[in-house]
């Protein structure tokens, strides 16, 4: 393919490293995610998957390297400005393992709050958008409830609606189903599947092998602070290049 025809990557990581003091979490990670690409990141716990994801929107500041998101680049380590970070975060929606909904706000306010505060939408516009998104995740009836009255699966779908309300260019998922019962997790995966088929760019740290195989376009395997495989999910899952991947897959698939 001609280089000029190739789409500019939506997310691009160049030489990204993260240390906590002497301890290296990962080092020199390079990764490109194209617009509309769904990338699953798997690997043993402690491999640095979640930290890598959180570095993309600077919830964790990388020790070094540069991150480009939707055309905005931030270089780590040299006096990163809060304003730049906020602008970058606005382009990325994030969904957490433990939902992190705001317990003192109604479901509707959870979804509308940042729209009003950050995007300066009027309450009316924000609520209209929120209700449309809640409807999309099947929870319009819960708009007036408080998060604590919703099940885990419902809370996670509300969290997805909350992130989508900011019109992100990429969605980051940090083990979105790990805190849920397998059955409840399915309703969240269904919403994510729909989002993927609508063309959303997504990076998903997950232990859901079925989802990684069937929904994602690319698969990244991280172990010991490095990306050890990156490519077609089916190929990696059936014929991994690395012994480390084989070991990991045996543990998650062979139970």
């Amino acid at each position: 393919m001609d280089a000029s025809q190739r789409a500019q990557p939506m997310v691009s990581l160049r030489g990204v490293s993260k240390n906590y003091g002497e301890r290296t979490i990962f080092s020199d990670v390079n990764l490109d995610v194209s617009p509309g690409e769904v990338m699953a990141v798997i690997g043993p716990s402690g491999a640095g998957k979640s930290t890598l994801l959180r570095c993309i929107n600077f919830l964790e500041e990388p020790t070094s390297g540069q991150i480009t998101l939707g055309g905005r680049t931030i270089r780590a380590g040299e006096g990163v400005s809060g304003r730049d970070v906020q602008a970058l975060r606005r382009k990325a929606g994030m969904v957490f393992q433990h939902f992190n909904l705001f317990p003192h706000m109604s479901v509707l306010d959870n979804v509308s709050f940042a729209q009003m505060r950050v995007l300066k939408r009027s309450r009316e516009d924000a609520n209209k958008r929120s209700l449309a998104l809640l409807d999309r995740v099947g929870l319009a009836d819960f708009a007036g409830s408080y998060p604590a009255r919703c099940s885990g699966g419902q809370q996670q779908r509300i969290a997805i609606a909350r992130a989508l309300a900011m019109d992100p260019e990429v969605m980051l998922f940090d083990e979105p189903t790990s805190a849920l019962d397998p059955e409840v997790g399915l309703e969240v995966l269904a919403v994510m599947k729909e989002l993927a088929s609508d063309g959303m760019t997504m990076i998903i740290v997950t232990h859901e092998m079925g989802f990684a195989r069937d929904v994602s376009d690319t698969l990244v395997v991280m172990a010991d602070g490095k990306i050890i495989e990156h490519g077609d999910p089916r190929q990696i899952l059936s014929e991994p290049n690395h012994d480390r991947t084989r070991l990991f897959l045996r543990a998650v698939l062979g139970r």
Binding site: L59, G82, R89, P103, A114, R117, Y146
Partner: protein, 212 residues
């Protein structure tokens, strides 16, 4: 009956000193706790020393220092202002510590959720973490308010005409000392109990909203 009248005469100033110094504490406690949590080392240690100082000196000593010692230009604090400022500063230190506990009781994921949505630090604090921290802090704040009602009696030592001032005066002027002090005790109890009730009611109604 005369004794009760004497005791009740002090109620307005007891309430004024308590209410005003509590308000100062509730408000000043906010910048103080932000300083205690600041990433800036000099600010953080300055606030830490301030809190330690304010909490380490007895209220009665503070009141005398402010009443006799501090004058701004030609202006000298009168007894009521000295009492309000002294108790207000001490309250600010205690409130800051109460808030600090409340803030650390809020899950770190709340900050992250705010930040991930592009919400500024200040708005995340004031609209997301703060309100949750405040709810957690209400029982401790009430306990402090109740002890402040009683500590406001210290103001009588610099001549503020609150409950204990009148009570002491009445006892000295001949009447039965025991009776008038028992009456004073009853009046304090009568003021403290509703506060506790109010706090529990507030707490449970806020709790109902956020939990199943």
């Amino acid at each position: 009956m005369e004794a009760l009248e004497a005791v009740l005469l002090g109620v307005p100033l007891t309430l004024l000193v308590t209410g005003a110094s509590l308000s100062i504490g509730v408000v000043l406690g906010v910048p103080l706790v932000m300083g205690l949590r600041s990433r800036n080392m000099p600010i953080r240690s300055a606030c830490r020393y301030t809190v330690n100082l304010l909490r380490g000196i007895p209220a009665i000593v503070w009141l005398f220092i402010i009443y006799f010692g501090v004058s701004i230009g030609a202006f000298q604090f009168d007894a009521i202002s000295a009492a309000i400022i002294g108790l207000g500063l001490i309250s600010a230190a205690y409130m800051a510590e109460i808030y600090r506990g409340g803030i650390s009781a809020v899950h770190a994921g709340q900050w992250e959720a705010g930040h991930a949505l592009g919400v500024s630090d200040w708005t995340t604090f004031s609209r997301i973490v703060g309100p949750q921290a405040l709810r957690v802090s209400i029982p401790s704040m009430t306990s402090y308010a109740i002890s402040l009602i009683k500590d406001s009696s210290i103001a009588s030592t610099i001549g503020v005409t609150e409950i204990v001032f009148f009570t002491t005066q009445d006892a000295r002027s001949g009447g039965g000392g025991l009776t008038v002090y028992l009456l004073a005790a009853a009046v304090y109890v009568a003021m403290c109990i509703p506060l506790g009730l109010l706090s529990r009611k507030l707490d449970s109604s806020l709790r109902k909203k956020v939990s199943r």
